[in-house]
């Protein structure tokens, strides 16, 4: 019996990936969450972070936000910002990082935004290392 389930990452203008996976770790809003086959049906949304897909090979995606639905062993991630880690280029990261940092300094952002931005900066810094 296989221990795999299907995974789809969909952006508004493209199907980014459709594959099977053994384990997927998602940066859920309230903390990182690992999903294996047979997980309870679930709806949640994402904060900035890394989606880690473990199959025969490992794939990593950077996301800023998104919505996740898991049902019938089918994991669906809707996001407008997913980028595979291998394909992001360094300059782009720097722009994103600078953007986030300037935004964090603005006084009128809400707590929720501050929370998301700080994760974004942390993730981006980790990637660029």
């Amino acid at each position: 019996m296989s221990e795999k389930f299907t995974l789809e990452i969909i952006s508004p203008d493209n199907l980014i990936i459709k594959t099977s996976a053994m384990e997927v770790v998602i940066p859920s809003f309230e903390g990182e969450m690992g999903i294996l086959k047979g997980h309870i049906d679930l709806i949640t949304f994402l904060r900035p972070g890394i989606i880690k897909i473990t199959d025969d090979t490992e794939k990593n995606f950077f996301v800023e936000d998104g919505t996740v639905e898991f049902s019938n062993n089918n994991l669906l991630i809707l996001t407008s910002t997913a980028k595979e880690l291998k394909t992001i280029d360094k300059n782009e990261l720097k722009i994103l990082l600078d953007d986030a940092e300037t935004k964090l300094k603005e006084p009128e952002i809400t707590d929720k935004e501050r929370y998301q931005l700080s994760y974004k900066i942390e993730t981006l810094k980790n990637i660029s290392l």
Binding site: D13, N14, L15, L42, I43, F45, T67, E69, S71, L78
Partner: protein, 292 residues
Amino acid sequence: MPSLDDLKKRIKSVKSTQKITKAMKMVAAAKLRKAQENAEKGRPYSKKMQNIILNLTKSINDPNNAPRLLVGTGKDKTYLCVVLTADRGLCGGFNSNICKLAKSNFKKILSEGKDLKIITVGSKGLDQIKREYGKYVIKKFSFKDNKQITFKEAEIVGNEVINLFNQNEFDKCILFFNNFKNVITQIPQAQQIIPADNKQANVTEESQLSYEFEPDEDEILEDLLPKNISTQVFKAFLENAASEQGSRMTAMDNATRNAGDLVDKLTINYNRSRQASITKELIEIISGAESL
């Protein structure tokens, strides 16, 4: 009877028009393929998003506390109509069809004594609507300079709608666009986006699953609903873009064919009158020779 010279000029002008329409058709065909691809790629996202929202809606126990974007303001007074059209003409009935549908809706809304507010996207729709309903237009968007429509543009429009909603500017929001069915058929559609239309809910009854939510339903909905508005707008953008190119292609194909027919007809006319003038000259010569 036009002179030979006039006919010649007309044939030439029709032929050059034909060249233009033919070129436009080719361009539209090339763009259509891309736009169609985009529209088809975009469909799963909006569909799945809608599904998640439906599932969430079912698990809300207390409708009084549900987010207003979902259940509406409870009133039915002011309507916001978002009309999506193209920025360019020469695409057959594409723009007129949307405007026709929108106008008939406007009429209905006004005749029921309700308030109307209009947002137009694309300059062609604005031109058609402002004649009759100009005073209701509160905002106009045009993305003429952007070659490719991305999610960002949809978000601009979506955020504007949400902003207006939060300021209690309207109770219901309807989106007008052309649904791309195939190259020849585009169906103008009116889709209600605020409050979320629950009519389709009964169709997907079999997917009644109990979900675990993290964080709780309300918070997810709060995050998801504004996104859904932009997603629906984006979907409408994509469908519209594909429809525009499809519509233009058919229109230009027809125009090219008509121009061909016209050239044939004019050529026959031209040859006849040329023949007639030759015969006339011959008769003149012969009768002149006979009289000698």
